[in-house]
Amino acid sequence: MTYTVNASGIRKAFGGKPVLDGVDLAIETGSIFALLGPNGAGKTTLVRILATLVRPDAGTATVAGHDLLADPVGVRRSISLTGQYAAVDDMLTGVENLRMMGRLLHLPPRAAKARSAGLLADFDLADVGNQRVKTYSGGMRRRLDLAISMLVKPRLLFLDEPTTGLDPRSREQLWGFVREFAADGVTVLLTTQYLEEADQLADRIAMLHHGRIVAAGTADQLKSSLGGEVVRLQFADPDGYRRALASVPVIRSDERLRTVDVGTDGSAAAVHDLLGLLRTAGAPAARVSVDRPSLDDVFLSLTESRIQSRTPSRTEANRVTQKASIR
């Protein structure tokens, strides 16, 4: 098994505040790897470190076989970075962007020209190639960004929140391209705050929270780590709801709906035990439903337990509840 990214003990602090707190990462060649986490988790910093834009305070990494610190030029030859804000020149046309980047990748002028025309067609931009990027929609900009990344096939493609702000159709289309790249042998490192995106695309997922990887594995592994299934319990009155919160391990809760979600192994016996436990605690459940857990559940269980293990502030508790009720 070969790894395109092999990083260990990556640390970075900005102004004394740790952003990455000892991250280990191994990404198999040819796979799609998703780095999942909320804003401020350190995803972008990790990408910027691996793309040679930021020096880590500590830790070592190789990217496509090149040492990050000793051979940054070798790394740069092997990667392509598409940023959170599409890294294209607004004032130039799509064709000009592609040719400029082609020249910077040291393609001969004629090759840059031919390749640009081909990529515009591949990425469904042929009609707008001669318009300035300023006039492009969000989806068109991301497609141009991807087309630029494919001028010279990289060994590792960074996609930093590629679908943030895109409409569902553009998002689906972009996912399709990413799958094609991977099928073509390009290793993809994707950051996202959308659990669905990681679920849909990634072979492996790492969850980043406060600068640490709190869980890693395939989507299925992560989901089954919760204990198979999620039982949602609803309570008739607020007192029952509060007593339940105090007596069972809660993944998340909604005060308004008086619901509490609990992870179980999915067996009838486990559900029976749970209901018995609640009855003895003086919090009999009014309604029960059972669901396969989503990555949301995994993420919330991991982050919420962390929040509770510190002193829970009012705002943090509210945020978790809000997040749960949106779904």
């Binding site: 900005f14 910027r48 793309a51 040679t52 834009l53 930021v54 020096r55 030029v73 740069r76 030859r77 990667i79 392509s80 970075l81 598409t82 940023g83 959170q84 804000y85 599409a86 890294a87 294209v88 020149d89 607004d90 004032m91 130039l92 000009e96 400029m100 980047m101 020249r103 910077l104 990748l105 040291h106 300035r132 630029i148 960074f158």
Partner: protein, 259 residues
Amino acid sequence: MTTAYALSDTRVMIARCLRRSLRDPEAFFTALMLPVVLMLMFVYVFGGAMKSGGTYADYVVPGLIVLCAGFGAGTTAVAVAFDMSSGIVDRFRSMPIHGSSILAGHIAASLARNLLATALVIGAGLGVGWRPTGSPGAWAGAVAMVTAFILAMSWLAAAFGLLVRSPEAANAATFVLMFIPYLSTAFVPARTMPAVLRPVAANQPFTPVIETMRGLWMGHTSTGAAVGHEAWIAAAYCAVILVAAFAAASWLFRHRTAA
């Protein structure tokens, strides 16, 4: 990476910056109109009241060149700050290209924009009665002087743009650099100023630059000093500003983008 790649990267970056300059029609139009409008205003509106010895057009051309260069430097500071605040510089830096080519592109475009503005000032000046008496050699010297000055201002502007990061803040450079010429011998001789301002005007860096051009084109300076004397001071000022701004910009570029 070879020198050939470095040159090719720089050429691509220069083309990009020039293209961007041409594609911002408002800014471009303002930059072209400014020299002409200022020339008409200074010569026809203020000119009558100025006692500079000879026609005011003969006096004011070097001052307006410097004023327009200040405006041009502001444009450069904004362009650099804008680039740094957009995602594209990150992409450039993650590519196997020479980092220095990015700033070189901005500086070359700045030089081109400002030399065009200088040519417009000269053209407008000749149109309103400026009659320089300098020899071709003196012209070459004056053009070399203004080129060195623009180069120094361009690096200073780039360093400022890198320092402040936001295009709005970078615009402050325009204000400062367009204000300094008023406290020099650009528009009136230092001897006509109040005693407090006289030493400021006589010793600030813009004055020797202006006086060098004035001396070369008209045969005499407004300070009474010899052209050669002013030229040495001007060259020293430009060299110091250039070296300091270049060092600051290079340092900032490495560290700003690496944050």
